[in-house]
Symmetry: none
Subunit: 453 residues, 2 copies
């Protein structure tokens, strides 16, 4: 039996087409539809203009299936969804007396004797349409359908639309789909420290010719997620193919995988440190506080993060982190030697067991003859075991900051994990860094109170 | 003469159709197209699946005109835009040797001997297509056209797409449109330190019953922009109504307006400090480095930003910033007294003329009987003139960090401006803060070299 598990989404509004408003309604409907097992075939945004709206609806009707529409149901002259739906289905608009009574009732509750001018149009429906009650506003939604297509029109106000979708639309969609509707199941593997192309190359043989699950590479904020999607399978089969591929990918990409689904890199670092009973201080130059910001986005980070120094000027590296002026002049601020001294300084000044340091050139200025924009030295010190790496990244100032922050946090995570596996001081497990042993600093005093500033 | 001033936008990607990613590319293209005078006729999102993608492109080709496409140009097997464009135009894909050479060149610069497997497909174009150079990444864009329609395909990575649109696509769109293009003109007023509802209430009388310009309130990242749009007017009339309303709004909202159009708060602070020849150090607790990160996103910030301390633990506030243990025990970490000592400590330790300090409770934990989640004390010291404020904000941990960061940077901007206007040490111009005079610290040594780590 054919399962009618496709939907289309149509959002109506000049605000979206002008780029003034992000289309969060489309994202909500897409997410909720996918979770319920419907595949979103496409999303379209149409303007508050009669001709394009009617044509867009006609085309969607021609493609058939269920169409989720939001917007254009208000009382003003540029609210044209009712009219365009009637046109697209070749029906006329009719005032529905019961709807008018309900509207008048709602407006009386707001203190009006009769609805404000224009609001009576909200009681009009195309012939044969089924009204969908609006639990949180005045404009009712509607279902307009024939043998081929079903349009569910909802208001554009998000909190009105969301409850109408959940209570009025989704049950009807499910009834239309009948039995056999299969949920779309997803897993996400999160990686850092490696680019999209290099990732794809490393797993190409695992994905070649594979029908399910489908794998998407999603780069964002300096790192890449892999999303595995199984659609059109029964639950047990979906879980099996997802589990198999997830395991194979995670093994292949183990140096770079830091988490699954909604886990964050800062959260993974925090769990590792808290689990090992270690505290952390940071010493940032080119990342400019982004690492500390990332860490402190995690609730509870104050239990393992003591603080950090953003040592932007060389004097700040010297005065706040104890980097020697001789090193800054000889090797330069962007060097492995400076990075090592930043690590030691951060541990000592904050009395932390672990430290993380980054120094590099985010650009666009600051390059020298031997040090290009994008060159970054970074390192970690985990209870005396130092790992250092260097990289040169392309991209914008912000992009370089993001990649450096993610790479440094990943290095820290791996170093804390390695310590847990008895590899203390073994150096860089990935074989690309220098291993040195720095002075260990003692842990500072206990917590002074319940507040954290 | 008919003006060809319509465009369509097509974004490609399962992550958008699944509701996993907001379609910011569509919003960018819509906004920039509208600014340039093009009317966006519709926006469509299509999946990473061969059949629906080809059909969607065929339909758009059938409607004719200019079509802006983003996404699906990467090197992985689910990047299908090239193939679907070739199909929609009935052409074959061909490897373009010059593009392959360029790709190889780019990858060599990243340290590859040959491009990673799969990347060579990025050198394939439909017959007759014109490549559009990618200034920031590997995948070139392309223009595929016939007498009826012109498809401009761009990468899905926002910073690659944006520069390609501005430099490669927009000039070609303008050439296609010819003379007679009527621009949609926009202005943006950027505010911080005040919420959307409070803003709207303060300017309601200026907007009531006004036809043009249209005003939209756009909250994001802890602050709110006001966008003024004049469409369908001749240039002189548009400029007149925009100028009048912008002036009235800016005057009414002067305590909160920090810039216009693409100006950032960090950039405004930087210009003010650089103009006054002042240097800055930061002392952050609950914002956790977000302020330093915001500042260092500005190119050239190393000329006025010396660095900062993220003093998360109380010991860090004492050891790195010189906050007295007595103050921390008596008044608490989240207090005006601690904030004042953080300001003095940051100036002294970094040798900066100005400092900024924030201490608060970002939540969800950390509240006490008298100090709720969202309570934040923040202040600035501009060459000895201290201003302090406190606020209690609702919202998430991240939201509170963002609002605190924006509010503190706004306070700094106003204090530096006031000094420029001869109001040295006059305290808070908005009349809500304490004014105190702290010890002034001397400026540290000169710059040591051309690098900044």
């Amino acid at each position: 039996m054919a399962v009618r598990n496709f939907v289309e989404i149509v959002t109506v509004g000049d605000e979206i087409l002008l780029g003034a408003t992000l289309d969060t309604n489309a994202a909500f409907l897409a997410r909720e539809s996918a979770r319920a097992g419907f595949e979103v075939r496409r999303t379209t945004t149409l303007p508050d203009a009669p001709e394009p709206l009617r044509e867009g609806f006609r085309e969607a009707r021609g493609r058939g299936g269920a169409v989720l529409v939001t917007g254009g149901l208000g009382p003003t002259p540029d609210d044209l969804t009712r009219w365009a739906l009637a046109e697209a289905f070749g029906r006329s608009l009719r005032l529905v007396p019961e709807l008018l009574s309900e509207l008048e009732e709602k407006f009386r509750a707001f203190g009006y004797v009769t609805p404000p001018a224009g609001n009576a149009t909200q009681a009009e429906l195309p012939e044969g349409a089924v009204p969908l009650p609006n639990a949180r506003g005045t404009a009712p939604g509607m279902l307009v359908e024939d043998d081929h297509a079903a349009f569910f029109a909802m208001p554009g106000v998000p909190h009105e639309m969301e409850i109408m979708f959940r209570e009025q639309v989704l049950p009807r969609l499910r009834a239309r789909a009948g039995p056999g509707l299969v949920e779309v199941r997803q897993r996400v593997l999160r990686t850092a420290g490696i680019g999209e192309s290099a990732l794809a190359e490393r797993v190409a043989d695992l994905l070649d010719g594979r029908e399910a699950p489908k794998v998407a590479f999603l780069p964002h904020g300096g790192s890449v997620d892999l999303r595995l999607t199984a659609a059109g399978l029964l639950p047990a089969a979906a879980e099996r193919v997802l589990g198999e591929l997830e395991w194979a990918l995670a093994e292949r990409l183990s140096p770079w995988v830091y988490g699954r689904d909604d886990e964050t890199l800062g959260g993974a670092v925090g769990r590792a440190l808290a689990g090992a009973g270690l505290s952390l201080a940071t010493a940032e130059s080119c990342t400019g506080g982004l690492i500390a910001d990332t860490i402190t986005n995690e609730p509870g980070s104050s239990s393992w993060f003591l603080g950090g120094v953003v040592g932007y000027a060389n004097e700040a590296k010297r005065d706040l982190l104890g980097v020697s002026w001789e090193t800054l002049e000889r090797a330069g601020a962007v060097s492995a030697d400076t990075c090592v001294e930043m690590l030691a300084g951060a541990r000592a000044r904050f009395g932390a067991e672990c430290s993380l340091a980054v120094t590099g050139i985010a650009g666009p200025g600051g390059a020298t003859a031997t040090k290009p924009v994008g060159l970054v030295h970074f390192g970690v010190d985990v209870a005396g075991a130092v790992r250092l790496e260097r990289a040169t990244w392309p991209g914008t100032r912000r992009g370089i900051k993001q990649r450096a922050a993610k790479a440094a946090l990943l290095l820290l995570l791996r170093a804390v994990e390695a310590r847990g596996h008895g590899e203390r001081g073994a150096g860089d497990a990935r074989g690309r860094g220098d291993a040195r042993v720095a002075e260990g600093g003692g842990r500072g005093g206990g917590e002074a109170g319940e507040e954290r500033g």
